[in-house]
């Protein structure tokens, strides 16, 4: 649907706009009313296809969203009459038919809180823990993001039929296992929300960190994750981590253009051309971080966003406040201990207090057999040894990092640094 827009044709433009702005809203409500994910999705798809013909014949309606809602509901009624397998079919049919006959006082477009509730229901259902992580990601992108199965498959380097099966299977599990379509109760909410944020951040990272695959679609993943992050801020404004994640993604994404040079080479943060940073995104990210911190409920996304903010706000790389960054990594390690956080803390300490202090923190990590083939550890080790003036040991560490690197762009940079030692 999103691919075939002819800007000169007002009808196809209007349909594309309605698809982008209204589809997830209409779908979220219809899933609740029809009680079945697949059926609701098929009905909404039918409605958009019907819109192309009807709007060309009768003109674009004044309220495209309301038109799509009504059309999708009627398609759902037709489909429910034919499909006996849907749970509580008779009740669903009665409810949909009742809504159809009283559509004069259409509540769905005016009632903001009903829309908010349905979208939250959809998000929490797509990210339900009884679905596998890849299924949660795919379903979220498909239903909330409106990406086609082909686009999601290309972004995750998976064959389209494989991705199609993954999505169909997830929807069938929701129906067969009776995964509820609701916002979790207060006592489960913190856990479940963490799960949702993890899915959104995973989508972002897939787009941001990857250096292979279709670059354009990858960029779309970042945009989609940010859009989801902003949506969560609107839907759950009282949760600090929701704002923290949105801030983190915006601050990372602001530097997207500066991360790769014109020849396709990866550029480290301290060497990036700061004029390429997106100042609007930075301002938006910083504002959201401030909003998060005012809620006084620290969390891992806020801490990571605060670290990124300090790196961005330094007037030049040498003026970065590494001591404060090291402190924030310490807080992050207490909240959510992981070797990756420890490694980053060691690097920050090395830059704040001198390479010897950083190397001391790296010692236990280098002795951990589970991290023996973790490339970033050896690259950081090499960097600290080089700063400490031990060129021989640094060269050895660079060679280990180069041998472990699976990525051409990264390997080229490590080789350049190795060469600069001599």
């Amino acid at each position: 649907m999103s691919g075939a827009v002819n800007p000169a044709d007002p009808v196809s433009t209007a349909v594309a706009r309605a698809f982008r702005d209204e589809r997830a809203i209409v779908l979220a409500t219809l899933i609740r009313q029809a009680g079945d994910f697949q059926l609701a999705e098929d009905a909404v798809q039918d409605a958009f296809e019907a819109a192309v013909t009807a709007w060309r014949r009768d003109g674009v309606p004044a309220n495209p969203g309301a038109w799509i809602t009504t059309a999708a509901r009627r398609r759902a009624i037709d489909r429910l009459r034919r499909d006996r397998s849907v749970r509580d079919r008779a009740e669903r049919l009665a409810e949909l038919t009742r809504l159809d006959t009283q559509h004069e006082e259409e509540p769905s477009m005016g009632d903001e809180s009903a829309i908010v509730d349905d979208r939250l229901r959809l998000i929490f259902t797509c990210c339900h823990p009884a679905l596998s992580q890849p299924a949660r990601v795919a379903l979220t992108l498909r239903t909330l993001g409106g990406l086609s199965t082909g686009e999601i498959a290309r972004a995750f380097l998976v064959a389209e039929p494989t991705m199609g099966k993954r999505i169909v299977r997830a929807k069938r599990k929701i129906a067969d296992a009776n995964i509820p379509y609701r916002v979790p109760a207060d006592e489960e909410l913190p856990d479940r929300l963490r799960g949702v944020l993890r899915v959104v951040y995973l989508i972002f990272n897939e787009g941001y960190a990857a250096t292979e695959g279709d670059r354009l679609v990858r960029g779309e993943l970042c945009d989609e994750a940010i859009r989801l992050g902003e949506l969560l801020c609107r839907l759950m404004p009282d949760d600090a981590e929701v704002w923290g994640l949105a801030a983190l993604m915006l601050l990372h994404d602001a530097r997207r253009a500066a991360r790769v040079d014109p020849s396709g080479r990866w550029v480290a943060l301290d060497a990036q051309d700061r004029s390429l940073w997106d100042q609007d995104r930075i301002a938006d990210g910083l504002a959201r971080l401030e909003r998060a911190m005012r809620l006084r409920r620290p969390g891992e996304y806020q801490l990571q966003a605060a670290i990124t903010a300090l790196q961005i706000q330094a007037p030049d790389p040498d003026a970065t406040d590494w001591a404060q960054i090291a402190e924030l990594y310490g807080a992050l390690a207490r909240l959510n201990p992981s070797p990756v956080v420890e490694l980053n803390r060691a690097v920050a300490v090395g830059l704040a207090d001198g390479p010897a202090a950083g190397l001391a923190l790296l010692e236990p990590l280098l002795g951990d057999p589970a991290l023996a083939s973790y490339q970033p550890l050896h690259a950081a080790h090499a960097e600290l040894l080089s700063r400490a003036g031990d060129a021989t040991a640094a060269a050895g560490a660079y060679e280990r990092a180069i041998a472990l690197s699976a990525n051409d762009v990264e390997r080229a940079e490590l080789e350049r640094r190795l060469g600069a030692l001599r």
């Binding site: 397998s85 009884a130 679905l131 596998s132 067969d176 296992a177 995964i179 509820p180 979790p184």
Partner: protein, 137 residues
């Protein structure tokens, strides 16, 4: 008298072959009837496919929920519960309360409602009276 549980194992097959099996429901109902007449049948239930299964474990007081059936070959089936729950969340919550979830796995598999069972057989061509639903409850 002693109680026994009969566990039925089958390979999951493609839709065409599955439809042939669905159409055999009248034979199965005949079997149920004879068991009932002999006063032997306590309960019967058909499980949905393993694709709709969810596994629950509790480790260090944290509930771990995973998509899919249990897969550790060293664990063996030691018991069963049939719960009537509002939805999967309720079933998972109760599964996590089961004391053995701390050292084993509780697999939560939805039971197919009898009317859906009958509808599938009808879709596959079996001729069944409405009372058949009662024989599957």
């Amino acid at each position: 008298m002693s109680r026994y549980m009969l566990l039925v194992y089958q390979q999951e097959v493609d839709p065409a072959e599955q439809a042939e099996r669905e159409a055999e429901l009248p034979m199965l109902l005949e079997f149920h009837r004879s068991l009932r007449e002999a006063g032997l049948l306590v309960g019967v239930g058909r499980l949905r496919s393993t694709e709709s299964a969810t596994s629950v474990r509790v480790r260090d007081r944290e509930t771990e929920i995973t998509d899919g059936p249990f897969a550790v070959t060293k664990e063996v089936l030691v018991g069963y519960y049939i719960l009537e729950c509002a939805d999967l969340d309720e079933a998972l919550k109760q599964a996590a309360r089961f004391p053995d979830a701390r050292h084993g796995t509780v697999e939560v598999r939805p039971v197919m409602p009898p009317d859906e069972w009958v509808n599938r057989a009808r879709d596959a061509g079996a001729d069944l009276p409405d009372e058949a639903v009662k024989d599957l409850a």
